[in-house]
């Protein structure tokens, strides 16, 4: 039987960005001298050639319908110069060649519901995941939690009044696709997976599921006469690593999958070396559509930091200065035994000194 003629892909890879660059960006490529920020949400870059370019940054919802994208394009054609880019946090940036264009562009973006900001010492848009909208393993949603949180943080997106830049992320499982951040909201499961023994043999490659477990708590077993898997629940720390390769090991639980808060991640090398974030709270309910308990705790931590940190201190720098006991004291968060690290390398996270703040 003749196969239908299939189109062969053009394996072109990453496209050249030169064709999309604003002409001033192309002309001054690699030759920029400095920048300043005339107002929050606006960057002004000056080249060694003397050329200047203004950038207006605005927040988006990331998961955008084509009508929203076309609206952003209309604004770009009518009030900017047809060249845009996106930041790693889904903000859109319009580049223009004259300062006169900034005011009308800012006004149009705000009038159409796109907040202008996210520059300098602001709280930028939250890096986030897919959640219930599109992921196959999520315990919660991403876009909704982010929308609810940004509704409450928007004034600190529009202004540059934080001690230093603030980067947030959310993640719908412990894989943490949202990534390291000054403050991250991440699912924390609290019960071992519930196994559907009828399905394991047909769906799961059992040895590789066994191999995925970080604490070797999973072993092959015959259950009700069927080849399946069983879990040593005294060892299981409920990470959910077994769930993606074996969906019958259901880890998500509407009640027992909680949300945890992590703080102090920093990828920049500025001042101290990059840091990983630390868990400071858990047990928050997965409470759609607006997750008010999460928002309240995030705001509590962010505004304690805002009030207490010195200029240029990122979350991690602030905590390094005041110490963890005072972090918990100032935020009012309980320091529980679950926050004492016991994973490999954990002794490095204990206080091997008499450095104690009284």
């Amino acid at each position: 039987m003749a196969q239908p003629q299939m189109r062969r892909a053009i394996e072109s890879g990453v496209p050249d960005n030169k064709q999309y660059l604003h002409p001033l960006l192309a002309k001054n490529y690699g030759n920029w001298k400095y920048h300043d920020r005339p107002r929050p949400g606006v960057l002004h870059h000056v080249s060694h050639s003397g050329d200047e370019v203004w950038t207006v940054r605005a927040g988006t919802q990331r998961q955008m319908d084509i009508h929203t994208i076309r609206k952003l394009c209309d604004i770009g054609d009518q009030l900017a110069e047809g060249h845009v880019r996106f930041t790693i946090r889904s903000n859109i940036e319009y580049m223009v060649s004259s300062a006169d264009k900034v005011g009308p562009l800012v006004a149009a973006l705000e009038a159409n519901g796109f907040p202008v900001g996210g520059t300098g010492n602001s709280i930028s848009m939250i890096a986030h995941t897919q959640g219930w909208l599109h992921c196959d393993i999520p315990a919660t949603d991403a876009s909704g939690a982010v929308k609810a949180l940004m509704d409450e943080l928007i004034e600190d997106f529009r202004h540059e009044e934080m001690p230093n830049r603030v980067r947030l992320s959310t993640s719908c499982c412990e894989i943490n696709c949202g990534g390291q951040a000054d403050l991250a909201v991440i699912i924390q499961h609290t019960k071992p997976p519930k196994i559907n023994h009828d399905l394991v043999a047909n769906i799961c490659e059992r040895p590789s599921v066994v191999a995925r477990c970080p604490v070797a708590a999973i072993r092959p077993a015959m259950v009700n006469g069927k080849p399946s898997l069983e879990i040593d629940e005294s060892k299981c720390m409920c990470c959910g690593a077994c769930y993606p390769p074996c969906p019958p090991m259901q880890i998500n639980d509407p009640e027992h999958s909680k949300l945890a808060i992590w703080v102090g991640g920093k990828n920049a090398n500025a001042r101290g070396k990059p840091t990983f974030m630390k868990m400071v709270a858990s047990g928050l309910p997965n409470n759609p559509p607006r997750w008010p308990e999460v928002s309240a705790m995030v705001k509590n931590i962010l505004y304690t930091y805002k009030a207490d940190a010195r200029p240029w201190e990122r979350m991690a720098d602030w905590i390094e200065r005041i110490g963890w006991p005072r972090f918990f004291e100032k935020t009012g968060l309980p320091f529980t035994k679950y926050l004492i690290d016991d994973w490999r390398g954990s002794r490095a996270n204990l206080n091997a000194s008499t450095h104690i703040r009284f």
């Binding site: 990453v14 319908d65 930041t87 943490n176 559509p289 240029w312």
Partner: protein, 436 residues
Amino acid sequence: MAKKLHDTPNLDQLESGPWPSFVTGIKRLAQNNDMAVDLLGQLETSYRTRKGYWKGGTVGVYGYGGGIIPRFTELKDDNGEPIYKDAAEFHTLRVMPPPGMHYTTDVLRKMCDIWEKHGSGLIALHGQSGDIMFQGATTDNVQKAFDEINEMGFDLGGAGPAVRTSMSCVGSARCEQSCFDEAKAHRAVVNTFLDDMHRPSLPYKFKFKFSGCPNDCMNSIQRSDMAVIGTWRDNIRTDEVLAKKWFVKHGQDELVNDIVARCPTRTFQLKQIKDVRKGEHISSVAVNDTHAIEIDNKDCVRCMHCINVMTGALAPGKDKGATILMGGKRTLKIGDLMGTVVVPFMKLETDEDMEKLVDLGQRTIDFFAENALEHERTGEMIERIGLANFLEAMELEVDPNMVASPRMNPYVRTDGWDEEVAKINARKQSATTQGE
């Protein structure tokens, strides 16, 4: 006109408030798009039950083994029929963006037109790996959408155990801190590994990321198996006009408290002009008639802080290049790993320099493919075999810049010590005779 909207009392609550609403956007699509109507139905169900209802599967485009994220609904009625049948197949195309995520409005409009015709109309700019995510196509439409996107000059990204889509910062296009041509390096490297991207057959994922300076705006040190981070070897550059302008605006207290006190190696000092040292490795610039900044570049770790605070007045040097770090990843399986230095500095200016970078990537991926266990990331593999063994396999020379400190335990067999010293001395000798 599409079919009637389902009641979505939960999602409706995400339409109020000042931040742009994805729910409002999907509802706009739902006015003439049944897939969007049923997507809202399924999502509302998730909000009500607090459960996810998508499962993966096998959907692809002709000739490729990855790049499509298949999604089939698991919400079925008693007869096994999908409850929200028009969103029963809701696959995503991962498409690689241009470096720095630059677009013209024209190219964005073309993407919208394609996705209006073949998909749900929902596009994420961008996913966490950096892809343009065309979200929501039926199995039949995936190939059609890809063909048109591909004809526009765009290609699928990675998924599964493959080289993944990469990201690079705005960099040289619009940033004064850029230390190499990020876009050029990004394309040179990733476009070498398209076979490993489009036909997943590695032990696990492999990510490259490119940041133009140590501010690492792409978060490459924590999120990529091979991080290319710009840096420089010579002295910090200075500009007296901008330094004095900064000082007039900010004053001495800010200079002392925000910069001097925050320099991680205390090499940034404020001195009377008459006391400023001269020398090959000293950068200095007056901030007023009596005082100047002095930086001993031999003690500077290129952290970027002073340059961030006084941008323009201070700038990275001219002898630019990149530091290469390997092994960054998030928790699963053995815990978080930060990328660590494997090449303290390499130039990235000429085509030959770029070839060396590509070659390093090639050797790393080859070694990873042969030696990593299934589902083991590069950092975990290095942890298992030890950095020294990895370096030896990669023919990279050991360097004290690769460690935070030397070994803290005696559990090592050192009977090859004299031989190693001899090798190092021979290398030094040959470097001297070559006049490096």
